[in-house]
Protein backbone atom coordinates (compact mmCIF):
# COMPACT_ATOMS: atom_id res chain seq x y z
CA UNK A 1 0.00 0.00 0.00
CA UNK A 2 1.59 3.25 -1.19
CA UNK A 3 0.46 6.39 0.60
CA UNK A 4 1.01 10.08 -0.08
CA UNK A 5 0.43 12.47 2.87
CA UNK A 6 0.01 16.24 2.64
CA UNK A 7 -0.25 18.87 5.38
CA UNK A 8 -0.29 22.57 4.50
CA UNK A 9 -2.58 23.75 7.27
CA UNK A 10 0.04 25.99 8.89
CA UNK A 11 3.04 27.64 7.28
CA UNK A 12 4.95 24.38 7.70
CA UNK A 13 4.81 22.33 4.52
CA UNK A 14 4.80 18.57 5.23
CA UNK A 15 4.65 15.87 2.59
CA UNK A 16 5.53 12.22 2.93
CA UNK A 17 5.41 8.94 1.03
CA UNK A 18 5.20 5.45 2.48
CA UNK A 19 5.07 1.88 1.20
CA UNK A 20 3.47 -0.54 3.61
CA UNK A 21 5.00 0.01 7.03
CA UNK A 22 8.02 1.83 5.62
CA UNK A 23 8.20 5.60 5.47
CA UNK A 24 10.08 6.09 2.20
CA UNK A 25 10.46 9.86 2.26
CA UNK A 26 9.46 12.89 4.26
CA UNK A 27 9.87 16.54 3.44
CA UNK A 28 9.22 19.30 5.93
CA UNK A 29 10.03 22.92 5.27
CA UNK A 30 9.36 25.28 8.12
CA UNK A 31 9.52 28.65 6.40
CA UNK A 32 6.87 31.24 5.64
CA UNK A 33 6.63 30.79 1.86
CA UNK A 34 3.83 30.36 -0.61
CA UNK A 35 2.25 26.89 -0.36
CA UNK A 36 0.42 27.28 -3.66
CA UNK A 37 3.70 27.54 -5.54
CA UNK A 38 5.55 24.85 -3.57
CA UNK A 39 3.28 21.91 -2.73
CA UNK A 40 2.94 20.25 -6.13
CA UNK A 41 6.67 20.56 -6.95
CA UNK A 42 7.45 19.13 -3.48
CA UNK A 43 5.17 16.15 -4.10
CA UNK A 44 6.65 15.60 -7.56
CA UNK A 45 10.24 15.78 -6.29
CA UNK A 46 9.57 13.45 -3.37
CA UNK A 47 7.88 10.85 -5.56
CA UNK A 48 10.64 11.08 -8.18
CA UNK A 49 13.20 10.54 -5.45
CA UNK A 50 11.59 7.24 -4.44
CA UNK A 51 10.77 6.36 -8.07
CA UNK A 52 7.04 6.36 -7.59
CA UNK A 53 4.54 7.47 -10.23
CA UNK A 54 1.14 9.03 -9.46
CA UNK A 55 -0.55 5.89 -10.78
CA UNK A 56 1.33 3.78 -8.21
CA UNK A 57 -0.43 5.49 -5.27
CA UNK A 58 -3.04 3.54 -3.31
CA UNK A 59 -4.16 6.23 -0.90
CA UNK A 60 -3.92 9.92 -0.06
CA UNK A 61 -3.95 11.32 3.47
CA UNK A 62 -4.50 15.01 4.08
CA UNK A 63 -4.68 17.28 7.11
CA UNK A 64 -7.99 19.10 6.58
CA UNK A 65 -7.61 21.71 9.28
CA UNK A 66 -7.95 23.66 11.36
CA UNK A 67 -5.31 26.24 10.53
CA UNK A 68 -4.72 28.86 7.87
CA UNK A 69 -7.88 28.96 5.71
CA UNK A 70 -5.94 29.28 2.48
CA UNK A 71 -3.30 26.77 3.54
CA UNK A 72 -5.90 24.16 4.47
CA UNK A 73 -7.74 24.72 1.18
CA UNK A 74 -4.61 24.22 -0.92
CA UNK A 75 -3.81 20.89 0.73
CA UNK A 76 -7.41 19.65 0.65
CA UNK A 77 -7.93 20.75 -2.97
CA UNK A 78 -4.81 18.94 -4.15
CA UNK A 79 -5.54 15.83 -2.08
CA UNK A 80 -9.18 15.47 -3.13
CA UNK A 81 -8.42 16.16 -6.78
CA UNK A 82 -5.61 13.59 -6.82
CA UNK A 83 -7.68 10.97 -5.02
CA UNK A 84 -10.69 11.57 -7.25
CA UNK A 85 -8.84 11.49 -10.54
CA UNK A 86 -6.59 8.55 -9.58
CA UNK A 87 -9.66 6.77 -8.19
CA UNK A 88 -7.98 5.94 -4.88
CA UNK A 89 -9.21 6.38 -1.29
CA UNK A 90 -8.75 9.64 0.57
CA UNK A 91 -8.57 10.07 4.33
CA UNK A 92 -8.81 13.47 5.98
CA UNK A 93 -7.37 13.73 9.46
CA UNK A 94 -7.12 16.59 11.90
CA UNK A 95 -3.91 18.56 11.57
CA UNK A 96 -4.00 18.94 15.35
CA UNK A 97 -4.34 15.19 15.89
CA UNK A 98 -1.36 14.64 13.60
CA UNK A 99 0.65 17.20 15.52
CA UNK A 100 -0.24 15.42 18.78
CA UNK A 101 0.76 12.11 17.19
CA UNK A 102 4.11 13.64 16.25
CA UNK A 103 5.07 13.53 19.93
CA UNK A 104 6.58 10.05 20.07
CA UNK A 105 6.68 7.67 23.01
CA UNK A 106 4.55 9.86 25.21
CA UNK A 107 1.85 8.43 27.46
CA UNK A 108 -0.88 10.76 28.62
CA UNK A 109 -2.68 13.94 27.59
CA UNK A 110 -1.25 15.94 24.71
CA UNK A 111 -2.52 19.34 23.65
CA UNK A 112 -1.49 20.50 20.16
CA UNK A 113 -1.69 24.25 19.57
CA UNK A 114 -1.89 26.42 16.45
CA UNK A 115 -2.01 30.14 17.07
CA UNK A 116 -5.24 31.76 15.88
CA UNK A 117 -4.35 35.39 16.76
CA UNK A 118 -5.82 37.81 19.32
CA UNK A 119 -5.28 35.39 22.22
CA UNK A 120 -7.06 32.58 20.41
CA UNK A 121 -5.81 29.15 19.45
CA UNK A 122 -6.89 26.21 17.33
CA UNK A 123 -6.54 23.28 19.66
CA UNK A 124 -7.94 19.97 20.89
CA UNK A 125 -7.01 17.39 23.51
CA UNK A 126 -5.65 13.94 22.74
CA UNK A 127 -4.58 10.96 24.79
CA UNK A 128 -1.52 9.09 23.56
CA UNK A 129 -0.99 5.55 24.77
CA UNK A 130 0.97 2.71 23.19
CA UNK A 131 1.35 4.84 20.08
CA UNK A 132 -2.42 5.22 19.69
CA UNK A 133 -4.12 8.61 19.56
CA UNK A 134 -7.52 9.05 21.13
CA UNK A 135 -9.57 12.25 20.97
CA UNK A 136 -10.44 13.55 24.42
CA UNK A 137 -11.76 16.98 23.45
CA UNK A 138 -12.69 17.87 19.87
CA UNK A 139 -10.72 20.43 17.84
CA UNK A 140 -11.91 23.98 18.32
CA UNK A 141 -11.16 27.68 18.10
CA UNK A 142 -10.96 29.07 21.63
CA UNK A 143 -9.37 31.74 23.81
CA UNK A 144 -6.24 30.23 25.33
CA UNK A 145 -7.29 31.45 28.80
CA UNK A 146 -10.71 29.75 28.58
CA UNK A 147 -9.08 26.60 27.24
CA UNK A 148 -6.61 26.39 30.13
CA UNK A 149 -9.44 26.71 32.66
CA UNK A 150 -11.17 23.78 30.94
CA UNK A 151 -7.98 21.69 30.92
CA UNK A 152 -7.12 22.30 34.56
CA UNK A 153 -10.50 20.96 35.67
CA UNK A 154 -9.50 17.55 34.26
CA UNK A 155 -6.90 17.25 37.03
CA UNK A 156 -4.27 15.52 34.92
CA UNK A 157 -0.96 16.84 33.52
CA UNK A 158 -1.07 18.05 29.92
CA UNK A 159 1.84 18.22 27.48
CA UNK A 160 1.64 21.15 25.05
CA UNK A 161 3.14 20.60 21.59
CA UNK A 162 3.63 22.66 18.43
CA UNK A 163 5.94 25.60 17.78
CA UNK A 164 3.04 28.04 18.03
CA UNK A 165 2.32 26.89 21.59
CA UNK A 166 5.57 28.53 22.66
CA UNK A 167 4.17 32.04 22.43
CA UNK A 168 1.32 31.04 24.78
CA UNK A 169 3.52 29.26 27.34
CA UNK A 170 3.51 32.13 29.80
CA UNK A 171 -0.29 32.42 29.89
CA UNK A 172 -0.71 28.64 30.07
CA UNK A 173 1.80 28.33 32.94
CA UNK A 174 0.10 31.13 34.86
CA UNK A 175 -3.26 29.35 34.79
CA UNK A 176 -2.22 25.69 34.89
CA UNK A 177 0.98 25.84 36.95
CA UNK A 178 2.65 22.45 37.30
CA UNK A 179 -0.19 20.69 35.44
CA UNK A 180 1.29 22.01 32.19
CA UNK A 181 4.44 20.75 30.50
CA UNK A 182 5.88 22.10 27.27
CA UNK A 183 7.42 20.33 24.29
CA UNK A 184 6.74 23.02 21.71
CA UNK A 185 10.36 23.26 20.65
CA UNK A 186 11.03 19.52 20.41
CA UNK A 187 7.71 18.71 18.71
CA UNK A 188 7.47 21.85 16.58
CA UNK A 189 5.32 20.63 13.68
CA UNK A 190 3.51 17.67 12.17
CA UNK A 191 5.74 14.90 10.93
CA UNK A 192 4.46 13.34 7.70
CA UNK A 193 5.02 9.89 9.26
CA UNK A 194 2.52 10.73 12.01
CA UNK A 195 0.00 11.91 9.43
CA UNK A 196 0.44 8.71 7.43
CA UNK A 197 0.03 6.49 10.47
CA UNK A 198 -3.13 8.31 11.58
CA UNK A 199 -4.51 8.17 8.05
CA UNK A 200 -3.85 4.49 7.69
CA UNK A 201 -5.83 3.65 10.79
CA UNK A 202 -8.79 5.89 9.87
CA UNK A 203 -11.63 5.25 7.41
CA UNK A 204 -11.52 6.57 3.86
CA UNK A 205 -13.98 9.09 2.53
CA UNK A 206 -15.46 9.99 -0.83
CA UNK A 207 -13.10 12.69 -2.20
CA UNK A 208 -16.09 14.79 -3.20
CA UNK A 209 -17.26 14.86 0.43
CA UNK A 210 -13.91 15.82 1.98
CA UNK A 211 -13.94 19.49 2.91
CA UNK A 212 -11.77 21.65 5.13
CA UNK A 213 -12.56 21.94 8.82
CA UNK A 214 -12.05 25.64 9.56
CA UNK A 215 -13.25 25.58 13.20
CA UNK A 216 -14.86 28.96 12.69
CA UNK A 217 -17.22 30.80 10.39
CA UNK A 218 -16.03 33.21 7.74
CA UNK A 219 -15.95 36.68 9.31
CA UNK A 220 -18.70 38.04 7.06
CA UNK A 221 -20.96 35.15 7.99
CA UNK A 222 -20.36 35.55 11.72
CA UNK A 223 -21.18 39.27 11.48
CA UNK A 224 -24.27 38.58 9.42
CA UNK A 225 -25.55 36.05 11.97
CA UNK A 226 -24.84 38.46 14.81
CA UNK A 227 -26.73 41.27 13.07
CA UNK A 228 -29.59 38.89 12.34
CA UNK A 229 -29.80 37.85 15.98
CA UNK A 230 -29.94 41.48 17.06
CA UNK A 231 -32.69 42.15 14.54
CA UNK A 232 -34.63 39.15 15.85
CA UNK A 233 -34.23 40.31 19.46
CA UNK A 234 -35.29 43.89 18.76
CA UNK A 235 -38.42 42.71 16.95
CA UNK A 236 -39.51 40.58 19.91
Amino acid sequence: MKVLAIDTSTYTLSVGVSDGDVILAEQVTNVKKNHSVRVMPAIEALMNEVEMKPGDLDKIVVANGPGSYTGVRIGVTIAKTLAWTLQIPLTAVSGLASLAASAPLIEGLVCPVFDARRGQVFTGLYRLSNGFVETVKEDRNVLITDWCQELISIGEPVLFVGQESVQHEKVIAEIMGSAAAFAGKSVPYTRPAALISLGQSADSQDPEQVIPYYARLAEAEAKWLEANEKRAQSSE
Partner: protein, 339 residues
Protein backbone atom coordinates in the same frame (compact mmCIF):
# COMPACT_ATOMS: atom_id res chain seq x y z
CA UNK B 1 -6.90 13.20 -40.84
CA UNK B 2 -5.64 15.37 -38.01
CA UNK B 3 -6.27 14.33 -34.47
CA UNK B 4 -8.81 16.35 -32.50
CA UNK B 5 -7.56 18.47 -29.62
CA UNK B 6 -9.48 18.32 -26.34
CA UNK B 7 -8.81 20.89 -23.65
CA UNK B 8 -10.21 20.70 -20.11
CA UNK B 9 -10.87 24.19 -18.70
CA UNK B 10 -11.19 25.27 -15.06
CA UNK B 11 -12.48 28.64 -13.83
CA UNK B 12 -12.75 29.70 -10.16
CA UNK B 13 -11.71 33.37 -10.19
CA UNK B 14 -14.85 34.75 -8.55
CA UNK B 15 -18.15 33.17 -7.54
CA UNK B 16 -18.69 30.53 -10.23
CA UNK B 17 -17.10 27.09 -9.94
CA UNK B 18 -16.79 25.95 -13.54
CA UNK B 19 -15.24 23.28 -15.74
CA UNK B 20 -15.60 22.51 -19.45
CA UNK B 21 -14.17 20.48 -22.30
CA UNK B 22 -13.62 22.11 -25.69
CA UNK B 23 -12.79 20.33 -28.94
CA UNK B 24 -10.36 21.99 -31.36
CA UNK B 25 -10.77 25.34 -29.63
CA UNK B 26 -14.21 25.97 -31.07
CA UNK B 27 -16.66 23.27 -30.09
CA UNK B 28 -18.25 22.84 -26.66
CA UNK B 29 -18.24 19.20 -25.60
CA UNK B 30 -19.19 19.87 -21.98
CA UNK B 31 -19.77 23.04 -20.00
CA UNK B 32 -20.68 23.01 -16.31
CA UNK B 33 -21.12 26.08 -14.10
CA UNK B 34 -22.03 25.96 -10.42
CA UNK B 35 -23.06 29.43 -9.32
CA UNK B 36 -22.79 30.64 -5.72
CA UNK B 37 -24.78 33.78 -6.31
CA UNK B 38 -27.51 32.78 -3.85
CA UNK B 39 -25.10 32.48 -0.93
CA UNK B 40 -23.55 35.90 -1.58
CA UNK B 41 -26.83 37.78 -2.05
CA UNK B 42 -27.42 38.29 1.66
CA UNK B 43 -24.04 40.07 1.91
CA UNK B 44 -24.82 42.38 -1.02
CA UNK B 45 -21.71 41.26 -2.88
CA UNK B 46 -19.22 38.45 -3.27
CA UNK B 47 -17.41 37.63 0.00
CA UNK B 48 -13.96 36.26 -0.96
CA UNK B 49 -13.58 33.80 1.92
CA UNK B 50 -17.05 32.37 1.37
CA UNK B 51 -16.42 32.10 -2.38
CA UNK B 52 -13.22 30.15 -1.70
CA UNK B 53 -15.03 27.81 0.69
CA UNK B 54 -17.70 27.06 -1.90
CA UNK B 55 -15.13 26.36 -4.60
CA UNK B 56 -13.36 23.67 -2.60
CA UNK B 57 -16.73 22.08 -1.77
CA UNK B 58 -18.08 22.12 -5.32
CA UNK B 59 -15.07 21.50 -7.50
CA UNK B 60 -15.04 17.70 -7.67
CA UNK B 61 -18.73 17.39 -8.52
CA UNK B 62 -18.29 20.04 -11.21
CA UNK B 63 -15.33 18.10 -12.67
CA UNK B 64 -17.23 14.85 -12.52
CA UNK B 65 -20.27 16.26 -14.25
CA UNK B 66 -18.05 17.71 -16.97
CA UNK B 67 -16.46 14.34 -17.77
CA UNK B 68 -19.87 12.68 -17.67
CA UNK B 69 -21.40 15.22 -20.05
CA UNK B 70 -18.50 14.76 -22.44
CA UNK B 71 -18.35 10.98 -22.00
CA UNK B 72 -14.58 11.35 -21.89
CA UNK B 73 -11.78 10.58 -19.42
CA UNK B 74 -8.51 12.45 -18.83
CA UNK B 75 -6.87 9.94 -21.20
CA UNK B 76 -8.52 11.91 -24.01
CA UNK B 77 -7.47 15.34 -22.73
CA UNK B 78 -4.53 17.10 -24.40
CA UNK B 79 -4.19 20.04 -22.01
CA UNK B 80 -5.53 21.47 -18.76
CA UNK B 81 -6.35 25.19 -19.04
CA UNK B 82 -6.98 27.05 -15.80
CA UNK B 83 -7.66 30.66 -14.94
CA UNK B 84 -4.55 31.92 -13.13
CA UNK B 85 -5.77 35.52 -12.78
CA UNK B 86 -6.97 38.14 -12.34
CA UNK B 87 -9.56 37.50 -9.63
CA UNK B 88 -9.95 36.77 -5.93
CA UNK B 89 -6.72 35.14 -4.84
CA UNK B 90 -8.21 32.53 -2.49
CA UNK B 91 -10.76 31.57 -5.13
CA UNK B 92 -8.17 31.36 -7.91
CA UNK B 93 -5.96 29.08 -5.79
CA UNK B 94 -8.62 26.36 -5.64
CA UNK B 95 -8.82 26.08 -9.44
CA UNK B 96 -5.08 26.49 -9.93
CA UNK B 97 -4.19 23.73 -7.45
CA UNK B 98 -6.90 21.38 -8.69
CA UNK B 99 -5.63 21.93 -12.24
CA UNK B 100 -2.07 21.23 -11.23
CA UNK B 101 -3.14 18.03 -9.41
CA UNK B 102 -4.89 16.70 -12.54
CA UNK B 103 -1.97 17.66 -14.76
CA UNK B 104 0.44 15.87 -12.42
CA UNK B 105 -1.74 12.78 -11.97
CA UNK B 106 -2.04 12.14 -15.71
CA UNK B 107 1.05 13.86 -17.11
CA UNK B 108 -1.06 16.36 -19.07
CA UNK B 109 0.37 19.75 -20.14
CA UNK B 110 -0.85 22.70 -18.09
CA UNK B 111 -1.69 26.16 -19.42
CA UNK B 112 -2.56 29.17 -17.24
CA UNK B 113 -5.12 31.49 -18.82
CA UNK B 114 -5.93 35.16 -18.24
CA UNK B 115 -9.60 35.50 -17.30
CA UNK B 116 -10.21 38.33 -19.76
CA UNK B 117 -8.55 36.40 -22.58
CA UNK B 118 -11.12 33.76 -21.74
CA UNK B 119 -14.03 36.21 -22.00
CA UNK B 120 -12.78 37.32 -25.42
CA UNK B 121 -12.37 33.74 -26.62
CA UNK B 122 -15.96 32.91 -25.63
CA UNK B 123 -16.72 34.41 -29.04
CA UNK B 124 -14.71 31.73 -30.82
CA UNK B 125 -17.22 29.16 -29.55
CA UNK B 126 -19.82 30.94 -31.69
CA UNK B 127 -17.85 31.97 -34.74
CA UNK B 128 -14.24 31.83 -35.95
CA UNK B 129 -12.23 34.97 -35.23
CA UNK B 130 -10.80 37.07 -38.07
CA UNK B 131 -7.90 39.40 -37.39
CA UNK B 132 -7.23 42.14 -36.69
CA UNK B 133 -10.09 42.45 -34.25
CA UNK B 134 -11.25 44.62 -31.39
CA UNK B 135 -12.92 43.39 -28.23
CA UNK B 136 -14.99 45.45 -25.84
CA UNK B 137 -14.70 43.76 -22.44
CA UNK B 138 -17.27 44.85 -19.86
CA UNK B 139 -17.77 43.07 -16.56
CA UNK B 140 -17.99 43.63 -12.83
CA UNK B 141 -14.25 44.23 -12.62
CA UNK B 142 -13.30 45.30 -16.15
CA UNK B 143 -14.02 47.83 -18.85
CA UNK B 144 -11.42 47.51 -21.58
CA UNK B 145 -10.93 47.83 -25.31
CA UNK B 146 -8.52 45.11 -26.41
CA UNK B 147 -6.89 45.02 -29.85
CA UNK B 148 -5.78 41.64 -31.20
CA UNK B 149 -3.66 41.46 -34.33
CA UNK B 150 -3.49 37.66 -34.13
CA UNK B 151 -4.31 34.70 -31.85
CA UNK B 152 -2.86 35.01 -28.36
CA UNK B 153 -1.84 38.67 -28.78
CA UNK B 154 -3.61 41.21 -26.59
CA UNK B 155 -3.09 44.97 -26.62
CA UNK B 156 -5.16 47.03 -24.20
CA UNK B 157 -5.89 50.27 -26.06
CA UNK B 158 -8.38 51.64 -23.56
CA UNK B 159 -9.36 50.88 -19.96
CA UNK B 160 -11.29 52.37 -17.09
CA UNK B 161 -9.47 54.92 -14.96
CA UNK B 162 -11.74 54.34 -11.95
CA UNK B 163 -14.80 52.09 -11.67
CA UNK B 164 -15.56 49.26 -14.05
CA UNK B 165 -18.91 49.58 -15.81
CA UNK B 166 -20.26 46.63 -13.84
CA UNK B 167 -19.22 48.25 -10.56
CA UNK B 168 -21.04 51.45 -11.51
CA UNK B 169 -24.14 49.36 -12.26
CA UNK B 170 -23.96 47.72 -8.83
CA UNK B 171 -23.53 51.04 -7.02
CA UNK B 172 -26.35 52.73 -8.90
CA UNK B 173 -28.55 49.71 -8.24
CA UNK B 174 -27.87 50.10 -4.52
CA UNK B 175 -28.82 53.80 -4.73
CA UNK B 176 -32.11 52.75 -6.31
CA UNK B 177 -32.58 50.03 -3.66
CA UNK B 178 -32.43 47.25 -6.22
CA UNK B 179 -31.26 43.78 -5.17
CA UNK B 180 -27.76 42.41 -5.80
CA UNK B 181 -26.40 41.92 -8.44
CA UNK B 182 -27.83 45.16 -9.80
CA UNK B 183 -26.90 45.04 -13.46
CA UNK B 184 -29.80 42.95 -14.79
CA UNK B 185 -32.33 44.91 -12.66
CA UNK B 186 -31.15 48.23 -14.06
CA UNK B 187 -31.23 46.83 -17.58
CA UNK B 188 -34.84 45.69 -17.08
CA UNK B 189 -35.92 48.91 -15.39
CA UNK B 190 -34.23 51.01 -18.08
CA UNK B 191 -36.27 49.27 -20.77
CA UNK B 192 -39.43 50.69 -19.13
CA UNK B 193 -38.16 54.27 -18.82
CA UNK B 194 -36.82 57.18 -20.84
CA UNK B 195 -33.52 59.09 -20.84
CA UNK B 196 -34.90 62.21 -19.09
CA UNK B 197 -32.31 63.06 -16.44
CA UNK B 198 -29.63 64.47 -18.77
CA UNK B 199 -26.73 62.68 -17.05
CA UNK B 200 -23.21 63.47 -18.29
CA UNK B 201 -21.32 61.49 -20.96
CA UNK B 202 -17.78 61.26 -19.67
CA UNK B 203 -15.51 60.97 -22.69
CA UNK B 204 -12.17 62.13 -21.22
CA UNK B 205 -9.63 63.89 -23.44
CA UNK B 206 -9.98 63.90 -27.22
CA UNK B 207 -8.87 60.69 -28.90
CA UNK B 208 -8.66 58.67 -25.68
CA UNK B 209 -10.13 55.18 -25.58
CA UNK B 210 -10.08 55.15 -21.77
CA UNK B 211 -13.24 55.17 -19.68
CA UNK B 212 -14.38 56.76 -16.44
CA UNK B 213 -17.62 55.92 -14.65
CA UNK B 214 -17.18 57.30 -11.15
CA UNK B 215 -18.37 60.80 -12.20
CA UNK B 216 -21.51 59.31 -13.70
CA UNK B 217 -22.13 57.26 -10.58
CA UNK B 218 -21.79 60.43 -8.46
CA UNK B 219 -24.17 62.27 -10.77
CA UNK B 220 -26.80 59.58 -10.17
CA UNK B 221 -26.30 59.74 -6.40
CA UNK B 222 -26.52 63.57 -6.48
CA UNK B 223 -29.68 63.44 -8.57
CA UNK B 224 -31.35 61.19 -5.98
CA UNK B 225 -30.03 63.30 -3.10
CA UNK B 226 -31.17 66.62 -4.60
CA UNK B 227 -34.61 65.26 -5.36
CA UNK B 228 -34.94 64.09 -1.75
CA UNK B 229 -33.99 67.53 -0.46
CA UNK B 230 -36.53 69.21 -2.70
CA UNK B 231 -39.12 66.66 -1.73
CA UNK B 232 -39.45 65.57 -5.35
CA UNK B 233 -40.00 62.02 -6.39
CA UNK B 234 -37.46 60.11 -8.47
CA UNK B 235 -38.81 58.04 -11.31
CA UNK B 236 -36.60 54.94 -11.03
CA UNK B 237 -37.36 53.72 -14.57
CA UNK B 238 -36.23 57.03 -16.04
CA UNK B 239 -33.16 57.31 -13.84
CA UNK B 240 -32.13 53.76 -14.76
CA UNK B 241 -32.73 54.54 -18.42
CA UNK B 242 -30.71 57.77 -18.17
CA UNK B 243 -27.82 56.03 -16.43
CA UNK B 244 -27.81 53.15 -18.88
CA UNK B 245 -28.01 55.53 -21.86
CA UNK B 246 -24.92 57.38 -20.63
CA UNK B 247 -22.90 54.18 -20.13
CA UNK B 248 -24.02 52.68 -23.42
CA UNK B 249 -23.43 55.89 -25.42
CA UNK B 250 -19.85 56.19 -24.24
CA UNK B 251 -19.07 52.48 -24.69
CA UNK B 252 -20.59 52.45 -28.18
CA UNK B 253 -18.95 55.68 -29.33
CA UNK B 254 -15.45 54.62 -28.23
CA UNK B 255 -15.83 51.12 -29.65
CA UNK B 256 -16.96 52.43 -33.04
CA UNK B 257 -14.14 54.99 -33.16
CA UNK B 258 -11.51 52.40 -32.17
CA UNK B 259 -12.84 49.90 -34.71
CA UNK B 260 -12.46 52.49 -37.49
CA UNK B 261 -9.08 53.78 -36.34
CA UNK B 262 -7.59 50.30 -36.07
CA UNK B 263 -9.24 49.03 -39.24
CA UNK B 264 -10.49 45.83 -37.62
CA UNK B 265 -12.50 43.10 -39.32
CA UNK B 266 -14.45 42.10 -36.22
CA UNK B 267 -15.70 43.61 -33.00
CA UNK B 268 -16.27 41.15 -30.15
CA UNK B 269 -18.34 41.89 -27.10
CA UNK B 270 -17.09 40.10 -23.98
CA UNK B 271 -17.67 39.90 -20.22
CA UNK B 272 -20.68 39.69 -17.93
CA UNK B 273 -22.10 43.09 -18.88
CA UNK B 274 -22.28 41.80 -22.48
CA UNK B 275 -25.57 40.30 -21.30
CA UNK B 276 -26.94 43.85 -21.07
CA UNK B 277 -29.74 44.31 -23.62
CA UNK B 278 -29.28 48.06 -23.89
CA UNK B 279 -25.60 47.65 -24.76
CA UNK B 280 -26.28 44.84 -27.21
CA UNK B 281 -28.88 46.75 -29.16
CA UNK B 282 -26.84 49.97 -29.22
CA UNK B 283 -23.80 48.16 -30.62
CA UNK B 284 -25.94 46.22 -33.10
CA UNK B 285 -27.46 49.45 -34.31
CA UNK B 286 -24.10 51.25 -34.62
CA UNK B 287 -22.33 48.44 -36.45
CA UNK B 288 -25.24 47.72 -38.79
CA UNK B 289 -24.19 50.94 -40.50
CA UNK B 290 -20.54 49.90 -40.88
CA UNK B 291 -20.35 47.22 -43.57
CA UNK B 292 -16.70 46.22 -43.26
CA UNK B 293 -16.90 45.32 -39.56
CA UNK B 294 -18.59 42.21 -38.25
CA UNK B 295 -20.04 42.44 -34.74
CA UNK B 296 -20.04 39.27 -32.60
CA UNK B 297 -22.05 38.99 -29.41
CA UNK B 298 -21.90 35.66 -27.60
CA UNK B 299 -25.06 34.12 -26.15
CA UNK B 300 -25.85 35.08 -22.55
CA UNK B 301 -24.62 31.78 -21.12
CA UNK B 302 -21.13 32.42 -22.52
CA UNK B 303 -20.97 36.07 -21.40
CA UNK B 304 -20.96 35.33 -17.69
CA UNK B 305 -18.05 33.44 -16.12
CA UNK B 306 -17.60 29.90 -17.42
CA UNK B 307 -14.77 27.47 -18.14
CA UNK B 308 -15.61 26.89 -21.81
CA UNK B 309 -14.11 30.28 -22.58
CA UNK B 310 -11.00 29.42 -20.53
CA UNK B 311 -10.56 26.15 -22.43
CA UNK B 312 -11.11 27.98 -25.74
CA UNK B 313 -8.38 30.53 -24.96
CA UNK B 314 -6.26 27.76 -23.45
CA UNK B 315 -6.43 25.75 -26.68
CA UNK B 316 -4.85 28.59 -28.65
CA UNK B 317 -2.12 29.12 -26.04
CA UNK B 318 -1.49 25.36 -25.90
CA UNK B 319 -1.14 25.19 -29.69
CA UNK B 320 1.26 28.13 -29.54
CA UNK B 321 3.44 26.09 -27.17
CA UNK B 322 2.71 28.03 -23.97
CA UNK B 323 3.06 25.91 -20.81
CA UNK B 324 2.95 26.45 -17.07
CA UNK B 325 4.74 24.33 -14.48
CA UNK B 326 3.55 22.72 -11.25
CA UNK B 327 4.78 25.88 -9.52
CA UNK B 328 2.06 27.95 -11.20
CA UNK B 329 0.44 30.38 -8.78
CA UNK B 330 -2.79 32.40 -8.74
CA UNK B 331 -2.27 36.07 -9.68
CA UNK B 332 -5.02 38.41 -8.47
CA UNK B 333 -3.69 41.32 -10.55
CA UNK B 334 -2.52 39.46 -13.66
CA UNK B 335 -1.75 41.71 -16.66
CA UNK B 336 -3.45 40.81 -19.95
CA UNK B 337 -0.53 41.98 -22.07
CA UNK B 338 2.13 40.12 -20.04
CA UNK B 339 0.67 36.82 -18.90
Amino acid sequence: MEKDTFVFGIETSCDETAAAIIKNGTEIVANVVSSQIESHKRFGGVVPEIASRHHVEQIISVFEETLEQAELTFQHIDAIAVTKGPGLVGALLVGVNAGKAIAFAHGIPLVGVHHIAGHIYANRLVQEMSFPLLSLVVSGGHTELVYMKEHGSFEVIGETRDDAAGEAYDKVARTLNLPYPGGPYIDRLAAEGNDTYALPRIRLEEGSFDFSFSGLKSAVINTVHNAEQRGEEIIPENLAASFQASVVDVLTEKTVRAAKEYGVKQVLLAGGVAANKGLRSSLEHAFSEIDQVELLIPPLSLCTDNAAMIAAAGTVLFEQGKRDGLDMNGHPGLDLEQF
